[in-house]
Subunit: 138 residues, 2 copies
């Protein structure tokens, strides 16, 4: 179960599984990527803003969540540990964010590209902008 996995990751690094951390995790689990604003407002009355920031920060350092860049802003989502690897498309007209299907050819090419400069890649982010199917017909 996901919560067990969370507890394991936390404890392996010497952090405790607290109510706040469980709640923030649950706010993320099963949801699309969210802005801090949304996350904070959904936690309102239960968790202080500062704690949300601190928890997300910790989760990020532990590889539990990562930031994805959507337009100028960023959003938070669970990493591949809890979700499959994917990228996003961002419509410039209506602003919708669409999850793209996994593509192993693309993934391979990205890995190969990193190796051309002698780097050891550990991750990557791709965001495609354009006009989504719906907005093309307007």
């Amino acid at each position: 179960m996901e919560l067990q996995k969370l507890r394991d990751i936390l404890q392996r690094k010497g952090y405790s599984m607290t109510a706040v951390r469980r709640q923030v995790f649950e706010l993320l689990d099963g949801h699309e990527s969210q802005t801090m604003q949304v996350l904070i407002s959904r936690a309102k009355g239960q968790i202080d803003r500062a704690s949300v920031y601190r928890t997300v920060d910790l989760f990020e350092r532990l590889g539990i969540v990562h930031r994805i860049n959507i337009g100028w802003k960023y959003k938070i989502e669970l990493t591949d540990l809890f979700l499959y690897h994917h990228h996003h498309f961002h419509c410039q007209k209506c602003g919708v964010t669409i999850v793209l299907p996994e593509n192993s050819t693309l993934e391979n090419n990205i890995r190969i590209l990193a190796k051309t400069i002698g780097a050891k890649p550990t991750g990557h982010q791709l965001e495609i902008q354009g006009i989504c199917q719906n907005c093309q017909t307007d």
Copy 2:
């Protein structure tokens, strides 16, 4: 010449070529992507912060510059109009940013991926993270 191209773009859209705009352009031309902080400090004493923001904002709307996401922050660089299309690698250890060589196979993959959801892609950004060659030997 690049300044002439800048003047053309500005005038075609009804904006004038001012001293501030020329200076900001020159701060960008021939340089790697820069944070606003760096840009503002390099302009210090000559251009006010607000004007740097306003100019970058205008340049972005005119397609002269674009933001690239490096780690949590963003940096500004000239677009493909003045520079060729490329992506970046970001070293998690030393923080260096390395420009990746253009790869047409990858570019094609990305275009095809966008089409699988029926979208018309107009641009994309890829950032690869990992450990650079230098840091692997440490």
